[in-house]
């Protein structure tokens, strides 16, 4: 039971820790900019994921591990 509770406790602790960070909604001008999104260019990101999936033994991380090709 304790082990099941642990992730929940950690999650709450994490969120509590995060609650002191961040900005108010009216301070989101910079964060709302397209160049500040975590993935700025979805096509480029998808292209890179596919190239590196084909040529290296690692994939994914940012999102799902690519795949869907016989190249690896």
């Amino acid at each position: 039971m304790k082990t099941k509770l642990l992730p929940a406790v950690l999650l709450v602790a994490l969120c509590a820790g995060c609650s002191s960070m961040g900005v108010e909604p009216w301070d989101r001008d910079v964060l709302a900019r397209e160049d500040m999104q975590l993935v700025t260019d979805p096509l480029e990101a998808a292209t890179d994921d596919h190239i590196y999936f084909s040529k290296e033994a690692s994939s994914g991380g940012r999102g799902f591990g690519g795949g869907g090709c016989g190249c690896n």
């Binding site: 960070m21 160049d35 975590l38 260019d41 096509l43 190239i51 999102g63 869907g68 016989g70 690896n72």
Partner: protein, 449 residues
């Protein structure tokens, strides 16, 4: 995750616009047919987003060349719902390392189809030049809000090559906390792939046979892949946002490369053993080459972290990924981009990426005939010990009618080493690792209406 930011901007308007939802739905249908605008708040107006790119990827020494056309078309509906369709068409040609080692004499090999033979000059890396394929890939994703602070996305993917079929489903849920400064997300993807090798999948560790002999082939194979991802993104300040993802990937089934072989070598000289029977008139392998064999399961764990930092309009994007798996491959990836605005709507973006990986526990340059065969072995360079660097520059600009264009040029280079303990006799004096140099050029065009 990029979608979340867009959603955040528009979500605050949602309550006020519930009454116009029905009108918007009708307008959506009208837009599909006529392209006429509905008289609603501009920010909520349903619209299309077209993102298309042409990619050239070319490796030197006539290895893999890929010309690829990729489009993501996104349809934005009322109430922050969207449908995204992706289409990719790849045309691949060129040569790829067969897995056999260089020799001081010319070598011959049977093609994967089993229908013909090809030869490799003395001293050269054996490349199979029959590689030719067209790949068509489709993705579809539906995204919609789930409650006040949730965002749900479900999707499917499929791709087809001559010798490969992929089908997959995925789902992702993201939830905002702390005044939308924290987002927790969880996703799952399942895939079933069918491998349909030219001539059939060979039995691992059986020899490459003479032209016309396909007695060691087993037809088509398949594999299942399960991916699970958990993520946290956090706004730290007005100029800094960070993300941490943990992902788990489990592959089960046929994980071999059906076209790769290993040279069976003399335990003293390290040279490939010659064939034991005379070469038949139709041709066949000059030496003894065995098809590779990998475990039928692989479990990967990745930890990915990314930060985006605004510095007076310039944006620094840094990410790092650590990957470890039960094939004993560990890798580190560091990626840095710096977006530097130069005038209205234009920017330059230098990009550097460093990658390093250790070899799989069953990576072998060759198989020592004086030793018992291992349970698993592959000489695929992608499972070896190597470093890779990508260096590139992107230039982006806005066209007169406000659309985005960009051009990027990048160089990708891999250089690897075979563990010294694996080199036998004459192998020590040869260049054993197939180093790779590639040019990447991508032109992208994006417009909305």
């Amino acid at each position: 995750m990029a979608d979340v930011g867009v959603t955040k901007m528009t979500k605050s308007h949602r309550k006020n616009d519930r009454s116009v939802s029905a009108t918007l739905a009708a307008a959506t249908c009208a837009l599909l047919g006529t392209g006429a605008s509905a008289p609603v708040d501009a920010q909520e107006e349903p619209k299309w987003d077209f993102n298309t790119s042409f990619l050239y990827y070319g490796e030197d020494e006539n290895r893999v060349q890929d010309a690829s056309l990729k489009s993501i078309i996104r349809r934005l509906f009322a109430d922050d719902k969207s449908l995204s369709i992706g289409v990719t068409v790849d045309t691949l040609t060129g040569a790829t390392p067969s897995g056999a080692i260089r020799q001081d004499v010319a070598q011959t090999f049977t093609r994967p189809s089993g229908n013909a033979a090809y030869s490799v000059p003395a001293g050269e890396l054996p490349l199979d030049d029959t590689f030719k394929d067209t790949r068509v890939a489709l993705t579809a994703n539906w995204t919609q809000p789930a409650g006040e602070k949730g965002l749900l996305s479900v999707g499917m993917s499929a791709s087809k090559e001559y010798d490969y079929l992929h089908t997959g489903l995925n789902a992702n849920y993201a939830h905002d906390f702390n005044n939308r400064n924290t987002t927790l997300s969880a996703g799952i993807a399942v895939a079933r792939d069918s491998i349909e090798p030219v001539g059939g999948a060979p039995t691992p560790f059986t020899p490459m046979l003479d032209v016309g002999d396909v007695s060691n082939r087993n037809g088509d194979q398949d594999k299942d892949v399960l991916d699970v991802i958990f993520g946290v993104s956090q706004v730290i300040s007005r100029d800094l946002v960070m993300q941490v993802n943990y992902s788990y990937s489990m592959s089960d089934g046929y994980l071999n490369n059906p076209y790769k072989v290993l040279s069976l070598v003399d335990g003293v000289t390290g040279d490939t053993l010659p064939r034991t029977t005379p070469l038949p008139p139709d041709g066949g392998p000059s030496g003894q080459f065995l098809f590779e064999g990998r475990p039928d399961e692989r479990t990967q764990h990745s930890l990915y972290t990314q930060a985006k930092y605004n510095m007076n309009g310039k944006v620094l994007d840094v990410s790092y990924r650590y990957m470890t798996d039960d094939w004993e491959i560990d890798s580190h990836t560091m990626d840095v981009r710096y977006r530097w605005p130069i005038g209205a709507g234009s920017y330059l973006e230098p990009h550097l990426r460093f990658y390093t990986q250790s070899e799989a526990e069953f990576y072998r340059l060759s198989l020592d005939s004086s030793q018992p065969l291992p349970q698993f072995a592959s000489s695929d360079y992608r499972l070896g010990n190597f470093d890779a660097i990508t260096a590139g520059l992107k230039y982006g600009w806005k066209t007169r009618n406000g659309n985005d264009m960009s051009l990027r040029v990048e160089w990708y280079t891999q250089s690897g080493t075979v563990p010294a303990g694996q080199l036998i006799g004459n192998q020590a004096g040869r260049d054993n690792y197939p180093d790779l140099n590639a040019l990447i050029v991508q032109f992208s065009y994006r417009f909305s209406q």
